[in-house]
Amino acid sequence: MIINPSLQRKINLENEMSYKKLLSRLPDLIFQLTYTKNGQIVFPFFNKAVIDYFELSKEEIRTFNISSIFKSKIYESDFLQLLESVEQLNNLDSSWSFEFRAVLPTKGLRWFKAVANVEKSIDDEITLFGRMTDITEEKEKEIHLKLSEERFQFALEASTNGVWDLDIKNDRVFYSSQSMKMLEFDEADIIDTHQKWDERIHPDDLDDYQSAFNKHLLNETPFYENAKRMLTKTGKYKWILSRGKIIERDDKGFPIRLTGTHTDITELKQQEKKLLQTLEIINEQNGRLMNFAHIVSHNLSSHTSNFKMLLDLIEEEKDTGTIAEIHNHLRTSSNALSQTIEHLKELVDINTGVVQKKENLNLNLYLNKVLSVLSEEISNNKVKIYNKIPKDYNVSFNPSYLESILLNFTTNAIKYSHPDRVPEINYDLKSDKGKTLLEIRDNGLGIDMEKYGQKLFGMYKTFHNNTNARGIGLFITKNQIEAMGGKVEVESKANVGTTFKIYFNNEI
């Protein structure tokens, strides 16, 4: 095909015209920028879109001094940087782009992005052909996203909670740095599977955890929640509360992704434990108070009612001999009342800690001391003593309580020895579930535990026809042991013997 050159020219011209038309009607802002040899930046071309883009006033359109327009609308620092970036273009650059902010009369702050091809003329002039677009919306989204990401990151770091994200399909878990820190791991430690985490769960808590987790997987619970003990890097156990929820399922509805949090509740658990202990103490003290009320109603009122009845009698009585007899009974009642009050005072002292100072005492030494005090009774009754307590064992106890307790159990064993055999008393140190206990075993009369077991340690309880029995010893002894944080148990069989077990509490 042969082209007529004159025709060709005409078409080009027409094209040039239509290009200009096209250009002027394009909604995008098209520009040409030239960086002249002598270091000036000029804008030889803008299409009409510049009017809308930069909200040019009539006056600005008339004079159309583009550099003064830009200076007045574009952020000063951004404009200076724009010029600078053009000046820095070198021979090798073929494209250029720049983002800048402008403040417009009605639209306010807008973000623009200029993109251009770089062309170099033979005489070293640099010309940019390009377009500008309003990227305010994208920019706002970007800033917004960045902000919320920063916030999330900050929340992750600042929160004491850890975050986990389980990808079931690929069997991968992400544990946030806080989760890792809970178990004393740092970034260098890699825990990225369920298994590596789960193997640190306390064996006793494993079943509960698995059942809670499976229940959520099977949709039986709206979310998963489980508290368990977990082994840290240094071998301690911490209570970790884990909560989570399925956040993604496959086409068939099977869960493929779960995410959730970790919270270290060790302190909470410790406080819970303390609270329970406090409750136990309160219960115990409540029990003692009830016991005290019972003692008062039984042992104090019996004396006061005697007074009342004896006084009623004395008012009506004329016979001097009988009056003297009533007086005698009044005196006896008065003495008994005083003694009961003494005992109650002693009991209150024990329970309120007036004399509760604990010391580290050598058990063997104290037993020998008590045995020497009782040496006469021991030899008179031909009692065989077997002291098997190690010489180096110490208990944390009040010294006078320890003496009183050992004295009481020993005298009891002698007092209630069996008439048909040589009395034997064994003192042994044993351990039961990690607790140390002193066992005092005799071969005496023994007690019918079914009948008297519950009352053995009660106040003024006697079980044998023994005129020396006052029934106060074991009651005081029990209270002393309990005041020291220990406890006492008894095993006995009538005609076989009795074993007392004294548990010590060596925590100070």
Partner: protein, 131 residues
């Protein structure tokens, strides 16, 4: 007089004396047998029966006693009750107004007819013997 053969079961000897004097000064012509604990009282009942005598018709029973206390006595009494042809009235006489004791007495409704609180008064005795 409702009762003529009376057992007083109480470990307090002063109370024995008081009962004796109260009966005497109020012309209640009864000579009670006194026992210091539940076991001795049970033996007393047994002895009477062994001798072919009638068991007592009234027992005034204290709660707090050594060896066998009031409740234990009642437990034992439940067991031998069927062998006793005669009706025996039992009143608890105790200084305890403790709720635990009052409630426990209700568990022995079959055996215990009433609960008297010490100090015992002349009115109480009149009620027991005349009403």
């Amino acid at each position: 007089m409702k009762f003529s053969d009376v057992f007083v079961v109480d470990d307090d000897k002063i109370f024995h004396f008081i009962i004796k004097k109260l009966l005497l000064s109020n012309n209640i012509n009864v000579e009670p047998s006194f026992f210091e604990n539940g076991l001795l009282a049970l033996e007393g009942i047994q002895n009477k029966m062994n001798k072919g005598e009638n068991p007592p018709d009234l027992i005034l029973l204290d709660i707090n006693m050594p060896i066998l206390d009031g409740w234990q006595f009642l437990e034992e009494f439940k067991r031998i009750k069927s062998k006793i042809a005669k009706e025996i009235t039992i009143y608890i006489v105790s200084s305890s107004d403790n709720k635990a004791d009052l409630n426990k007495a209700k568990e022995y409704q079959e055996e215990v007819s009433d609960y008297y609180l010490k100090p015992m008064t002349v009115d109480d005795l009149h009620e027991i013997f005349y009403k």
